[in-house]
């Protein structure tokens, strides 16, 4: 019976997903292939929905917006969070320690931090995105507007009227 075998196939699929035994290939915009566990790849909501929709798991996923260096770093995060358990206090503490070291290393290279942030946004990796955006927000604290512009590569585009308003706000603050 067609429906019956369909259900059986779905059950087998689910079992395979459960075990996380499948391997998935992610390809950077430079054509370099990275083979990761499905559990690791599922950290990305973008890839997760493609896998669940029965997408081209075998052919792998080309990622035209991510270069090899960035992808390698993103995978390092996904491997840690996807392949490791986080049930006990010790396991959670180990993950928190990983996150702390991971972001401290990225923070030392701002350009790379921005690349990883953009990749985390594109791939919808919630935990990584929260980690990197919070780190960038923390660097805004205590900076002058000029220092923020330099850090973000933003051009000065305020008019004399804006400047006047800002002065006004400062005196009221």
């Amino acid at each position: 019976m067609a429906t019956g075998s369909g259900a059986a196939a779905a059950a087998a699929d689910a079992e395979e997903k459960e075990s996380g035994s499948r391997m998935i290939t992610l390809t950077s915009n430079e054509g370099k292939a990275f083979v990761v566990t499905e559990a690791s790849a599922r950290q990305s909501a973008t890839i997760r929905s493609m896998v669940d929709d029965g997408g081209c798991v075998d052919k792998g996923f080309p990622l035209p917006n991510v270069d090899s260096k960035t992808l390698a770093r993103v995978i390092q995060y996904c491997d840690e969070h996807g392949n490791k358990e986080a049930h006990t206090v010790d396991e959670r503490a180990a993950l928190a320690k990983f996150d702390k070291d991971f972001i401290a290393e990225l923070d030392a290279d701002k350009a790379f931090l921005y690349d990883v942030t953009m990749a985390a946004n594109y791939l919808h990796i919630q935990g990584l995105f929260a980690l990197t955006t919070q780190c960038i927000a923390d660097t805004i604290k205590g900076k002058t507007p000029e220092e923020i512009r330099t850090a973000f590569g933003i051009e000065y585009d305020l008019t004399a009227q804006d400047e006047e308003e800002i002065k006004e706000e400062d005196t009221h603050a």
């Binding site: 350009a111 921005y114 942030t117 923390d138 604290k141 507007p145 973000f152 305020l158 804006d162 603050a173």
Partner: protein, 351 residues
């Protein structure tokens, strides 16, 4: 090399994470460029920003300080609200009330010799409660906390609360060698049977706010010689000894980074030592671990070891402690080793 460009949606997510309790940070960010300026004043973004930070710790709105030159327990004085934000309570001063504790948006006062009062600065609501008749004591203090498990305390005004009362008795050669504690639930309207501890050194209570860490409320005794721990689950009082005691220094209870009990010890010279009480390995007894040391010369603008310095309060849920010096009062952020003047005495804080 110019940094790679972040797209507008990513920039929005970054600005969403700017701290809600530091308006100067948002003000500086809104002076960066036109798109940031537009975003930071956009009502939709501002609503998102509020919602995002609601899930986190409630903001520090101000502190309660005693408006008198020489605060001695139970001498009539004014308790006044000192704001640290634009928030102002309906009534800023309470004559003859002594602030004992403050937590979860509620302030606890001693309002007469036998009566406590819980005040909600947001609604102005006051609930009076008689002290437990079963505890006979010369010195006492108390703590207040929200009674709802898992509450984020953003909106528990008027909700059930718990009081913990602790008092000293058992005078021997001028020292109080006994302490008893009892807790009150606003839901049942009754005090629990007292739990009593004895100790071979004085357990005389210090008039500093209590600290809630784990499932216990902690009170400090004079000179930081001991800590009284009231377990909210089994309703038992016990004594914890500090890692060290400095004769000329001062002590303050706080919560450490991971929410465990913390202790700030001023060594009477030029440093504040921060300790945390951490669980022992493999379920062993908890023990003290030294976490950090703050050099007061580096943090306070006019520090002079010849003058007195006291640690007066800790704002629970933050890493801010309040210091009293001959030059005035300071709030100090422990993680940033940064201090700012409060200009006056701060005895308790409102979270």
């Amino acid at each position: 090399m110019a940094p790679p460009e972040l797209t507008d949606d990513v920039v929005e997510e970054i600005l969403l994470r700017l701290p809600p309790d530091d308006p100067s940070c948002s003000a500086r960010a809104s002076a960066v460029c036109k798109p940031w300026r537009r975003l930071l004043s956009d009502p939709v973004f501002l609503r998102r920003h509020r919602a995002f930070h609601r899930r986190r710790a409630p903001p520090l709105l101000g502190f309660i300080h005693h408006f008198t030159d020489e605060p001695v327990r139970r001498i009539p004085c004014f308790a006044r609200f000192g704001p640290t934000t634009a928030f102002r309570p309906a009534e800023q001063e309470r004559k003859g009330w002594w602030a004992l504790d403050c937590r979860h948006g509620r302030v606890l006062f001693q309002c007469s010799y036998v009566e406590l009062a819980v005040w909600d600065p947001m609604t102005g609501d006051v609930r009076r409660q008689r002290e437990p008749d079963d505890i006979v004591c010369a010195f006492s203090t108390a703590a207040v906390l929200c009674a709802v498990p898992g509450c984020d305390h953003h909106d528990c005004h008027g909700g059930p609360f718990v009081l913990v009362f602790v008092g000293n008795d058992g005078v021997y050669e001028g020292n109080f060698l006994m302490a008893s504690a009892s807790s009150y639930s606003s839901e049942t309207g009754t005090w629990t049977a007292p739990s009593t501890v004895e100790h071979d050194e004085s357990l005389e209570l210090e008039s500093k706010p209590s600290v809630l860490a784990g499932d216990a409320v902690h009170f400090l005794t004079y000179f930081g010689k001991a800590i009284l721990r009231y377990d909210l689950t089994n309703l038992e009082l016990s004594v914890i000894l500090p890692p060290v005691a400095y004769g000329d220094g001062d002590a303050l209870l706080m919560t450490a980074e991971d929410g465990e009990l913390g202790l700030a010890l001023f060594d009477g010279e030029a440093s504040i030592h921060l300790w945390a009480r951490v669980a022992g390995a493999a379920g062993g007894d908890p023990g003290w671990v030294r976490r950090n040391m703050i050099n007061l010369y580096a943090v306070l603008p006019f520090f002079d070891p010849a003058h007195s310095l006291s640690l007066v309060g800790f704002a629970e849920g933050t890493d801010i402690i309040f210091l009293h010096t001959t030059h005035g009062d300071y709030r100090m952020e422990l993680s940033h080793c940064r201090s700012a003047s409060c200009g006056r005495r701060a005895d308790a804080s409102v979270g």
